[in-house]
Structures are given as C-alpha cells and as structure tokens.
C-alpha cells in the first residue's frame, strides 16, 4: 500500500510539472501586457521597463520557466503583479474558504442524493421515483447563478434568515460561518445532488437486478438488510468516483457562485487574477487546483481498494 502511494505521488509530481509547463505557455499566448495593465494611466516607458525587468519578463522564456519551477519547488510561486504579495500566501489564504464551501456543498449533495437515489431505485416507477426524476431534471437544467439569486431573494430578502453574502472564517466564528456558507453551499449542493441522484439511482438499479441480490433475498433476509448490506455496498463503488470528481471540481472554485456570494475562494481569486492579468497569481491558483485534483484522485484510488476487495493495490 505505501509503495503504491509513493509511486502515485511520484506520478503526481510529474503531472504537476506538466501542468506548470502548460499554464506557463498558455499565459504567454494570452493577449494583454500585465505590466501595462498594472500601470494603467500612470504609464511611462521607464517605469514600464524597470517593472518588466524586476518581474523577469525581459528574460528568455526558457529561463523564465526554469526559474519559476525552481522557485516553486521551494514553495515560492513569485509575487503578485498587482499587490506585490507572495503568491503562495495569497493562494493559501483563499484555501479555507473554498475548502469549507466545497465540503459543505458536497455534504449537502450527498445527504440529499443518497436517500433519494436509493429510494427511487428501490421503489422504481413509484411516485417518489418520479419526484426524484423531476428534482434532478430541475437541478441539472436551472443555472446555479439563478438558483443562487432566488436563494438570496427568499432567505436573505423576504425571510431575512440568512445573510445575502460575505464570508466569516470557520475558526473565527463557527455560527457566523455556518449562516454565511449555507446559501452558497446549498446552491452548489442542489446542482451536485441532481447529478448524484441520477447516478445513484441507476447504479442501485443495476445492482438490484444482480444475481447475488437474488441470493440474498433467497436467504430470507429483511429487505432493509438486503439493500444496505448487499446492494448499497456494491452500488456505491462507482458513486465514489463521481462524488470525488464533483468535489475536486468544486475545490477548483465555483467562480459564478463565489462571485455572486462574495465568497473569497479560489474561484474568486482566479476570476480577479484574470481580470488584472496577474499571471503569477493565476499560475499559482491553477497549480493549487491541479494539486488538489491529484490528491483527490489518489484518495479515490485508496478508497476504491478499501471498498472493493477485487481491486488489488500494487
């Protein structure tokens, strides 16, 4: 197991290196000059050149890239063009906000989708099944920003139960964090739940018709035991992947929702960095998201091996 993890970590490092290269080259293709943007109306050629050489932008591309990677290995992702702060600090500052939003959203999604998907499958064709289908159709087709706006109007405007936007750190004030996270998390969670419900339903349906479920029924086990012990365990193996992919993409930041709710997460950071052509920050954010993705994938593989004894980890 530990050899497996070690090997996967090494593979991940290679992938990350590839990510840095791609991001670095892509940003060269983006039109617009960051230093020019940063100077704005205070532009004069001398300051411009001085700033460019301070940022190393006048050096050859290869040199720029190699020094970027070299510094990245020591945890130095450069400094923001805009604020002059270290990128590592900026990016890591945003991590808790995104992490807490993404995890809460996925938690909400699983809490809705798991019972709904399982019941819809077990009572295939019932009113509940149809209700579940309508729910997931709704969640998939309604855009998240609209759902977010409606949530704000209803819960913050009409009812006044929750703040319309903003962020409080979980460590500073758990109750305040909760009241702020609920609306954005529910907005994302509903969309994710719609996708998950469908997936769980079809996965459970498939296992329900498996021979070994008939064996379990032949043993005269209670219906609940058959579903929980024999159906769910098998049906959830593929669901784990979907949940993990959803979580990973949420960790990349949900730009629209983060902007809508003024949530200072990675998505918001990426958005601002693009606006300001703040390349170092953008690179740092993308790198972090890629790293999170790789970690999630590794966790899923480990979890898979635990859930399915047929998968041998070598």
């Amino acid at each position: 197991m530990s050899r497996f993890i070690l090997r996967r970590l090494l593979q991940s490092a290679v992938v990350l290196l590839g990510v840095t290269l791609v991001v670095f080259l892509l940003l060269q293709l983006v039109p617009g000059d960051p230093v020019r943007v940063a100077l704005g109306t205070r532009f004069d050629p001398q300051t411009y050149e001085a700033l460019r050489s301070r940022a190393g932008l006048d050096r050859p591309l290869l040199t720029q890239y190699l020094s970027y990677v070299g510094n990245a290995l020591t945890g130095d992702l450069g400094v923001s063009f805009r604020s002059g702060q270290p990128v590592t600090t900026i990016v890591l500052e945003r991590l808790p906000a995104t992490l807490s939003l993404a995890l809460t959203a996925v938690l909400i999604a699983v809490l809705i989708a798991l019972p709904l998907g399982v019941l819809a499958a077990v009572r295939n064709g019932s009113a509940l099944d149809h209700a579940a289908r309508v729910f997931s159709q709704f969640g998939v087709s309604v855009p998240d920003f609209w759902m977010g706006i409606m949530g704000i109007l209803l819960f913050a405007g009409v009812l006044g139960w929750l703040p319309p936007s903003g962020y409080v750190a979980l460590t500073d004030d758990p109750a305040g964090w909760l009241s702020h996270v609920l609306l954005p998390a529910a907005t994302i969670g509903l969309v994710t739940a719609s996708i998950l419900t469908r997936f769980i339903r079809s996965s459970v349906l498939e296992v329900l018709s498996a021979d070994h479920v008939r064996t379990a029924e032949a043993k005269g086990l209670r219906g609940r035991v058959v579903v929980l012990r024999h159906v769910l365990r098998n049906a959830l193996i593929p669901v784990v992947t979907v949940v993990a992919v959803q979580l990973a993409s949420l960790l990349g930041g949900v730009i629209v929702v983060e902007v809508l709710f003024a949530w200072p997460g990675i998505g918001r950071l990426t958005y601002d960095a693009v606006q300001a052509r703040d390349y170092p920050v953008l690179q740092g954010a993308v790198l972090l998201v890629a790293a999170l993705f790789l970690v999630m994938n590794l966790l899923v593989d480990i979890l898979y091996a635990r859930l399915d004894p047929r998968i041998r980890v070598r």
């Binding site: 070994h212 064996t215 379990a216 032949a218 043993k219 005269g220 086990l221 399915d308 047929r310």
Partner: protein, 329 residues
C-alpha cells in the same frame, strides 16, 4: 409418496407483465417433493422450470402475478403475508443457483455470506456464525476452511465457489434444497464433483431436493421423480426409472434420444426441430404440437391434452402416449 411433502405446488401459474403483454411463464403446474427425496424438473430454457420454483418460494420478479397453492412443510405460503413467507423460505429452503461467479456478493467475505441466513433465522452471534461457517465450508470439502473463511469470492475457483454456495444453502439445515442448474456454469470434471457432493450431503442430512436441469444424465443419477416441462406445463411426470424406461410423451422421447451416449458422435444426435413456443402466445392445444414427430390431428392443435395415467404415478400430457415398451431407448 406417503410422507407429508416438504414442498407441494398445486395449479401454479405465473404471468409476467412484459412490454408486449402478459407472458404465461408457468401455466398450471402441480408437483411435490417428499422429505429426503429428489424431484428433477427438466426442460429447455424458458419452459418455466426455474420460474415455477422461484414463484413457489416467493422469489418471482415483482412484475409477476402468481396464482395457485404452495405448501411448505404444511403451511400454505400463498396465504401468508410476505414477511412470514420470507422467514419460512430463509429458514427452511436452501438455494443453489446456476452461476457461482454471479450468485455471490463480491464485496463480502464468503464466511459472512455463508452464515448470514443462520444469523438471521437461528439467532447465531457473529462469533458462533464464524465457527459455523468454517464447519460448513469443511462439510462441502473446501480445504483449509479456517483460513479461507475470511477470503472473498474472487479468490475461489468456479467449483470452489459453487461449494461455497452449497455451504450457504445448508447454513440453516434446510428441509429443502433447490438446485437450479448448479453445474451448468462449471467445467465437466467439476460438474461431476458437485453432483456427487449434493447427493452425498442429501443422504447425510435427509434433505429433500428439487433439481432443475436440462441434463438428463444428471436426472438419471440423482432423481427419484422427474417432471418434464414444456411451454409452462408439465408434459410428463413419474418415477425416474419408469420415465426413462418407457417415456410416454413424444417430447420426453425426443429429449432422451438427443442425449449423448458413449459410442455416438455428436453429429449423430437427433435434434428436436423448431423452437419452443413463446410464453406471450401459448397455443390453445398441445404446446409441443408444432414440433411433434407424432403430429396427431386437429385435436392436438386445438385441445389441451389432459395429464393421463400411463403407469403407477406416471402421468403424461398427450393424446398419443407411446405403448409402455420403451421402443425409443
């Protein structure tokens, strides 16, 4: 058959709701199996043999409509609420299904699966269940059972998996064992071992067995009584020796003639022409009529032949039973 039967089925019909209308999978079937005896249900795929057993024990698919009377150890299953039926089935009936590679749960250890029913119905604790699992695995001839009890199905070979399934079926000391083509998915040498194992266990434990098969060789070896099914009905029913010696129904004769025997090459075997009737559209008369070599008259086409006695406890559903000389053997 003097003793009270373990399982008796009377006028059982099973209608499956399909997209193309109701399909009559089982069309009025009677059979029973006495303690310690073996009934073989024989027929082609789709003849209703498996469905009749599943329906009798309450395992028919949810879309199926089942009518008739089913008595398990004297209790009328059809009159019982599903909960009670479930408990009776789990406690007194063991099942061995066709394909051991799919009938075991891949994510539970074999030990857990073998004694799950005993935990449920006999109130065994987890610890007792584990000991019982080892005991059962030894009983069915799995080497180093104490170690293998914690392994998963994929770590067993096909034959060993079927042994696990048999151990599982025996967990509650059932009065009845239902073996649904338990050797079909196995290779030939393993088939013989599994047949021998079940026969031996039956003798030791006095279990009644319903053996569903299309292999007449197995029938001759293990069964006391045989019921030949065709198109959802029993076409011949009787003591296995009588049926083999003097098959009364043209279908049974054709089946027996199609049996490979030493000295014959496969190419010599006479096949039955045509295919079985669709359960969506069962003919009014004899279901075998379109394929029948005897091919009687209009009566066969339009009128269902009754089951008629041709010997002691030997009944045949045809207007043209062969003279009991066994000329086709």
């Amino acid at each position: 058959m003097t003793a009270e039967p373990v399982l008796a089925v009377e006028d059982l019909t099973v209608t499956l709701g399909t997209r193309r209308g109701p399909a009559r999978a089982v069309a009025g079937v009677d059979w029973s199996v006495a303690p310690g005896r073996t009934l073989a249900l024989v027929g082609e795929s789709g003849s209703g043999k498996t469905m009749s057993v599943l329906a009798a024990t309450g395992l028919a698919p949810r879309t199926a409509r089942v009518t008739g009377r089913v008595r398990l150890l004297g209790e009328d299953l059809t009159a019982l609420p599903p909960q009670r039926r479930r408990v009776l089935r789990g406690r007194h009936v063991g099942f061995v299904f066709q394909d051991p590679s799919t009938s075991l749960n891949p994510v539970l250890t074999v030990g857990r699966q073998v004694t799950e029913a005993a935990e449920e119905h006999l109130g065994l604790t987890r610890r007792q269940a584990r000991d019982r699992a080892v005991e059962l695995l030894e009983l069915v001839g799995i080497p180093s059972a104490a170690r293998r009890v914690d392994e998963y199905p994929h770590q067993f070979s096909g034959g060993m998996r079927q042994r696990v399934v048999i151990a599982m079926a025996l967990a509650c000391d059932p009065a009845l064992l239902i073996a649904d083509e338990p050797t079909t998915a196995l290779d030939v040498t393993t088939q013989a071992q599994i047949v021998e194992l079940v026969a031996g266990l039956q003798e030791r434990m006095g279990t009644a067995v319903v053996w569903i098969t299309h292999d007449l060789g197995v029938v001759a070896g293990v069964a006391d009584t045989v019921a030949v099914m065709y198109g959802g009905r029993i076409v011949e029913h009787g003591p296995v020796d009588d049926v083999f010696a003097a098959p009364g129904h043209p279908y049974t004769r054709a089946l027996l003639a199609a049996r490979p025997r030493p000295g014959h090459r496969d190419a010599d075997l006479p096949a039955i022409q045509g295919s079985p009737p669709s359960p969506l559209d069962l003919p009014a008369g004899c279901a075998f009529w379109p394929r029948c070599p005897v091919r009687g008259d209009a009566r066969c086409e339009h009128e269902l032949p009754p089951l008629t006695e041709v010997g002691p406890a030997h009944r045949v559903r045809t207007f043209y039973p062969s003279p009991p000389t066994g000329e086709d053997r």
